[in-house]
């Protein structure tokens, strides 16, 4: 292994993999891709990458945005599907 290689595990430590700069900018340090996101997307993504369980995340979203649980569930599922299809959260345990 390269002697000056980073000590982090390969994407397993998702919280270290993603860096947030304010509410609307996130860098994926594994791929080098970076994204402008809406504050709502940033809110969900932050919690996803720190290992929040989907069920728990739905409750957090419902509470935070004062919406009913069914709508929060749909929004979280749609968002995570999109992230997966883009390959952004393929290694995140969601």
């Amino acid at each position: 292994m390269t002697r000056n290689s980073p000590p982090t595990s390969n994407g397993k430590d998702a919280a270290a993999r993603y860096r947030f700069y304010g509410d609307q900018f996130v860098l994926d340090t594994l791929s080098g891709n970076f994204y402008r996101v809406t504050p709502t997307a940033g809110f969900i993504l932050r919690r996803l990458v720190t290992g929040k369980e989907p069920g728990e995340l739905v409750n957090v979203v419902a509470d935070h945005f004062k919406i009913d649980r069914a709508r929060a569930l749909r929004d979280v599922e749609m968002f995570t599907s999109e992230l997966r299809s883009l390959g952004i959260i393929e290694d995140v345990g969601t």
Partner: protein
């Protein structure tokens, strides 16, 4: 006063397809400010010859083009060494490494040290052999074939399916969509770079680039991986961002071990979603962006100079993900007298003519 540490460097042009020499000098002088540099140049208009900054050169000598062969190169190197007594050599261009390898035993007798790969390692990573190397070592890569004539190359292109890349064995690549295009580009490439000409599956994705240095045991002593952020129309990276990817690091280690490589390298990969990194190219030298990691703790050229001097003068840190570079072009001021002397005499020892006022910049 002892003999100054003097190094000879090639590849000084920093145009739209920048060569690495000026970056190598810049990085080395960050650790060795008193370093004397002899530029070995193929063209009096190589831009780096006219720099008065930290990457300035102290003397310039024109070299015969690589196609002239190793014997003529050796004659010229003997002449230059007789005048400059440089101790170290860092070749920075793909097309010249083969000749330098051939004459290296003679250069060593003159007291010139370099860190070059073995001939077999150099050949294994050559563009025309890279497909076979990937297949033998189960390294994912694009389908690539080499041919000496246009009919064979067309057959390979049809097998892959258009569009395909047509590539020279050293430089240049064109995306072609038809057999007519392919024939035209085959001729253009063969005329400049000779045969074989390569045809390669056209894949599109993010480009990753790893610069590194391997010691004589093929251990990667330091590396830095980036994703290319900005690309010129010819695909050259004009900006990049550091990434941390263990899989990429492992792939590099496997490649370097498999090649039994020693010395500087640049390895280029392509990544498509949900597929592994595909090995695209292995270049036997530092890339033009090598001074970027040197500025953030991973000074590979200075480490190389330390290895050549049998000392460990530099500690290589890991580059932090998210650090990025953006290339910035500048206008250098020169006097036609410099160009005239270099063109006429084939050499130019700058001495007091080169202003040193900006050396610290």
């Amino acid at each position: 006063m002892g003999t100054p540490v003097t190094i000879a460097v090639t590849g000084l042009h920093r145009g739209d397809n920048p060569q690495p020499g000026a970056s190598v000098i810049r990085s080395m002088r960050r650790c060795y400010p008193g370093l004397r540099v002899v530029a070995l140049s193929y063209d009096p208009l190589e831009s780096g010859l006219y720099s008065h900054n930290i990457d300035h050169v102290d003397a310039i000598y024109l070299l015969p083009f690589p196609m002239k062969g190793p014997e003529i190169l050796l004659d010229r190197m003997r002449y230059i060494h007789g005048k400059e007594k440089f101790q170290f050599l860092v070749p920075c261009l793909d097309s010249e490494i083969d000749n330098f390898l051939t004459i290296y035993p003679e250069l060593k007798k003159l007291g010139i040290t370099a860190m070059l790969p073995s001939k077999s390692a150099l050949d294994l990573r050559a563009k025309e052999n890279l497909g076979g190397f990937c297949a033998r070592h189960a390294i994912p890569g694009p389908r690539t074939y080499a041919a000496n004539d246009v009919a064979t190359l067309s057959r390979y292109a049809a097998e892959i399916g258009y569009p395909v890349y047509v590539k020279g064995k050293y430089y240049e690549a064109f995306l072609v969509y038809s057999q007519v295009d392919l024939a035209q580009h085959f001729d253009a490439i063969a005329r400049v770079w000779g045969v074989p000409v390569l045809v390669q599956e056209a894949l599109f994705g993010d480009e990753y680039d790893v610069v590194g240095l391997a010691d004589c045991d093929s251990e990667v002593v330091g590396s830095c991986a980036i994703r290319k952020l900005l690309r010129t129309s010819s695909g050259k990276g004009f900006g990049g961002i550091v990434v941390h990817d263990r899989k990429l690091d492992s792939a590099v280690t496997q490649i370097i071990k498999s090649l039994r490589w020693q010395g500087p390298f640049e390895i280029e990969f392509l990544k498509m979603p949900r597929r592994p990194h595909l090995l695209f190219e292995i270049n036997p030298r530092f890339p033009a962006w090598v001074d970027f990691p040197a500025q953030i703790g991973c000074n590979l050229p200075a480490y190389l100079l330390g290895l050549l001097r049998d000392e460990v003068a530099v500690k290589l840190e890991r580059c932090d993900a998210g650090q990025m570079f953006i290339r910035h072009s500048l206008d250098l001021v020169a006097d036609i007298a410099e160009l005239a002397k270099l063109s006429s005499d084939g050499e130019y020892v700058a001495g007091p003519l080169a202003t040193k006022a900006e050396v610290a910049s």
